[in-house]
Amino acid sequence: MIDFLTNLPPVVLGLLKGLAVICVIFPIAGACSMAERKVSAWLQGRYGPNRVIVPWFAWMPFVGRGLQRLGVFNLLADGGKLLFKQDPLPGHVNKFYFMIAPAVAIIPAFTTVVVVPFGAYFDQAGQVVPLMLANVDVGLLAVFAIASLGIYSMILAGWASNSKYSFLGSVRASAQLVSYELSLTLSVLPVFLWVNAPGTVGSLSLARVVEFQSQPGFWGGTWFIFLMPVSAFVFLVALFAETNRLPFDMIESEADLVGGFHTEYGSFKWSLFFVAEYAHMTVGSGVFVLLFFGGWNPLPWLPIGTLFGWLGLVQSAGHVSYAIAIAQGVLSIAIFLAKVLFMIFFFMWVRWTVPRFRYDQVMRIGWRRLLPLALVNVVVYALLIAVIQK
């Protein structure tokens, strides 16, 4: 079957991959929205949504009840509601940009997934084969580049809405995103300086970073969060800002801007923004896990290869065992996914704990705290790496 898949024409394969991305990210984003409601409820001592149930599940003795209490079916109800709601198109908007803005939001959000590895298996040669849709050399930069296009959706939405709130939201968004992009990029430089040590072939592949963290030994097996906590911190903060999550959700700020850039949106168009935000969050979490949390390695200094060895999931040389490869892939994906989910939970946890910054505070943190910190961090690690690897 795998042969069949690999032998498909590239266009069909591309379509399939794209479909896979949509089919995976859309539900994840939806589930995230549900999780957000549950997590926020739990963090505030509430139950959260626990009423909706589908008849067939209601007939199940315990599972149905459990799923209902967990609010799983609310996801369906929410989705249905968003799909079937009246889709308003205000009279005062610039219709063309107003309509394409949600699409502009969702495309980069989904595209970034393509270059993010989410697991790995060992081929019979013992080589790590990362599971990703497009293994491009410039991996991380591609993520940053494509993700940075997401801002156009907010600018377009805000501008086309032709309303004060929307416009203020989008102006804030563009300023904030441009500001924090610098820190974001600078914060990961030390990681790649370390990975691309002099003498090796330079690469920005995320898989390489994980590979580095999977090596046995002290430095190589260490997760980067231990090696460069400041980088991780700056990256995390910048990530919050880039994904417009609280405490940096300047562009929505429902307290002062009603709904920010999507004030005039409703129904399905609005839900696309919503999904895009969660997709960004998911991908951001994934990148963070890959860069600083050892990717699909189960524990620091415990590479996944060792785990496979313990579990007997090792390919014998010269023999192609799809079963083992699939088992390895599934396990690595599970580990990676668990970490990503924790990160998403962390995002929500912070959101429902920390109050929103004021806009001037956001700008001050970005330019006067985070950027100098990131710059110093880069210089220090450049020197450090030069000294160590001399």
Partner: protein, 181 residues
């Protein structure tokens, strides 16, 4: 009186980084995450109604099942949002309540207007209207939310009466030599 200027305590470095505060906050929310849920799951679990709660205004009957309201319209008059509408009527004939003479022919309380202030209960000279513990009012149309006399008595039921004013009056009338000339 002199003004005391309180100097704000300078922030320590740790406080200025804001991180310990964020971390403390995260711990607090995490405690709630694992803590007890405080939500009341409404339709199944009902809140305890405190005595003196002002719920939906209702009409009550006395322990003998007699309609207490005499349609004096004081509640209609006092009602700030003008939610009450009474059509007075006469009790004619020789029934047991004939001596009361007056009763509402129609008594409507518009629950879309009612503000639950309790002035109607306060002003009622016959102790016929009470804000009891019904608090959930819903309906599919505006008309449904206008409680008519029948609905009001159904909601109100019977409350103990300490006065029996009209029963005493009837007893006095039957004992009086001049009431029935």
């Amino acid at each position: 009186m002199s003004v005391i200027q309180v100097q704000r305590k300078p922030l320590t470095f740790a406080e200025r980084t804001y991180l310990p505060q964020v971390f403390g906050g995260l711990m607090i929310t995490l405690r709630h995450f694992f803590g007890r849920r405080v939500t009341l799951e409404y339709p199944e679990q009902r809140p305890e109604i405190a005595p003196g709660y002002r719920g939906v205004p209702t009409l009550v009957k006395d322990p003998n099942g007699r309609e207490k309201c005499v349609s004096c319209q004081l509640c209609e008059f006092v009602c700030p949002p003008k939610a009450i509408r009474i059509t007075p009527g006469e009790i004619s004939g020789d029934g047991p309540s004939a001596h009361v003479e007056k009763a509402p022919r129609e008594f409507e309380i518009n629950m879309l207007r009612c503000i639950y202030c309790g002035l109607c209960q306060e002003v009622c000279p016959e102790e016929a209207i009470f804000l009891q513990n019904v608090y959930s009012v819903s309906g599919y149309s505006r008309d449904e939310l206008v409680n008519d006399k029948e609905k009001l008595y159904q909601l109100g039921g019977t409350l103990p009466d300490r006065h029996f004013k009209w029963d005493k009056k009837q007893a006095a009338a039957s004992a009086s030599p001049i009431a029935h000339p």
